[in-house]
């Protein structure tokens, strides 16, 4: 049963991903004033979503490390892998955002509140990896690094959702805004949400592979110690 579900998952991912790419690049009408450069929206927004999702996943796994007494090692590497995937998606968000900023606003970097908030995420991930590497031989490593990720997850809404709305931003508020309405045409909205869903499936696929590799590494380590 598990194999069948996994097969269907892979099939959905590998069918939908090319479909979303083709739809975003050819079917959806161009964005007013931005022209074809606006199509980067269907890749930039899902990547930003995954950066935040990885953050929440890492925080959740860290929380579970502290409140449950079983599977600590497993939860620890799951938190670490979520952070590792998170930094990868954050860097991709910054790159796609910078390209779009150059085309729309004239320069790669403008210190816009939302541009800055994604750099905060990246800095937090970098700090976490610094802390993790310092704690390499510390017996309390899983607890200290988990607390760091939990604090980071809890303060994340301040700089991802609150600060960008406190100051003037160049980014349009098309999805989360004060009117509570999505200001996108139907086809654009459909493609964007499809893209977010497919990228989330891709994230699940990558995260699953990373966790399986970590599990194998731990098993191999245990075998070496047994010998």
């Amino acid at each position: 049963m598990k194999t069948v579900i996994y097969f269907l998952f892979i099939l959905t991912l590998f069918v939908l991903m090319p479909a979303v790419i083709v739809t975003a690049l050819s079917w959806v009408p161009t964005v007013e004033l931005l022209g074809n450069s606006g199509r980067i929206l269907y890749f930039h927004v899902p990547l930003a979503f995954l950066s935040v999702l990885s953050f929440v996943t890492a925080g959740y796994q860290s929380l579970m490390v502290l409140i449950t007494s079983n599977k600590m090692k497993e939860r620890e590497y799951k938190a670490y892998n979520a952070a590792l995937a998170g930094i990868f998606f954050t860097i991709l968000t910054i790159i796609t955002g910078s390209i779009w900023a150059k085309i729309s606003w004239g320069s790669f970097w403008n210190w816009d509140p939302r541009e800055t908030s994604i750099v905060y995420l990246m800095l937090i991930y970098i700090s976490y990896f610094c802390l993790y590497s310092v704690l390499k031989d510390n017996e309390n490593r899983y607890r200290i690094s988990s607390v760091y990720l939990i604090i980071a997850m809890i303060v994340m809404p301040f700089f991802v959702f609150i600060i960008p709305r406190m100051y003037n931003s160049l980014h349009p508020n098309t999805i989360i805004n004060s009117e509570g309405k999505i200001q996108l045409e139907y086809t654009m909205r459909l493609t964007l949400f499809m893209s977010i869903a497919v990228f989330t499936l891709l994230y699940g696929y990558i995260y699953n592979i990373m966790n399986r590799i970590s599990a194998l590494e731990i098993k191999a380590e245990e075998k070496i110690y047994d010998i």
Binding site: T116, L123, N138, I154, V155, I163, M166
Partner: protein, 220 residues
């Protein structure tokens, strides 16, 4: 307030007054930086935003050089185990938080007039300037307390403390720098909502730290 918390705060103050490590390092750093900037800039007028940035960078690095010391001292002098036998982790956290906040507020009280005097700055909105300095100092102290504990348990120095604290403190620095510039310039609308933001941020950090401190403090 719990007697053990009060005793612990008293103990920290007595030790601090005896050897004056944290306060002398922080104040010396702040004074040297302020005087150096004053000396270099001379009579050149700096914009309110530049003043605000310099002022908060001085306060931030003063905190980074002094605030982690309260936990690191417990580890260096091997008193953390004794402290754990005497107090619960929550009591230890609260006492250290109160001590760090008081210490950093005293540093801010010393550094702020010095900066205003030597760089000849007179904020137009003085109450807003005072409120933002106080609420910013509380936010920095609340973040520095929990990360000071982490660094002491990691057995690492102040460089790691700055690295892990900086990203979490960036929203605080961003807000305080913007509002301080407004209070010095006096041209924009007074932004008391930013003070609410800083107090909410400090509240969230303190609550999370209070709940998770035992996991850092107690070794497996």
């Amino acid at each position: 307030m719990n007697n053990r918390i009060l005793n612990n705060i008293k103990k920290d103050f007595v030790i601090e007054f005896r050897n004056k490590t944290a306060i002398s390092i922080s104040v010396a750093f702040a004074v040297i930086t302020t005087l150096s900037i004053s000396l270099v800039s001379g009579a050149t007028p700096l914009s309110p935003m530049v003043h605000s940035i310099i002022f908060w960078i001085i306060l931030f690095f003063s905190a980074m050089s002094g605030l982690a010391h309260t936990f690191i001292r417990e580890e260096e002098e091997k008193t953390s185990l004794f402290l754990s036998l005497h107090c619960t982790p929550e009591e230890i956290y609260l006492s250290k938080l109160i001590f760090n906040t008081a210490l950093f507020l005293s540093i801010a009280v010393i550094v702020t007039p010095l900066y205003l005097f030597f760089l000849q700055v007179l904020p137009v909105y003085l109450p807003l300037f005072c409120f933002i300095t106080l609420s910013g100092a509380v936010a920095i102290a609340s973040v520095a307390t929990i990360f000071g504990a982490m660094v002491s348990k990691a057995g690492s120095g102040s460089s790691l403390f700055t690295i892990i604290s900086f990203p979490i403190l960036l929203p605080v620095l961003w807000t305080t720098i913007t509002v301080t510039a407004i209070s010095i310039e006096g041209t924009a609308v007074k932004q008391y909502r930013d003070i609410v933001f800083l107090l909410a941020f400090s509240g969230v950090i303190v609550l999370t730290s209070y709940l998770s401190f035992r996991f850092i403090w107690k070794e497996t």
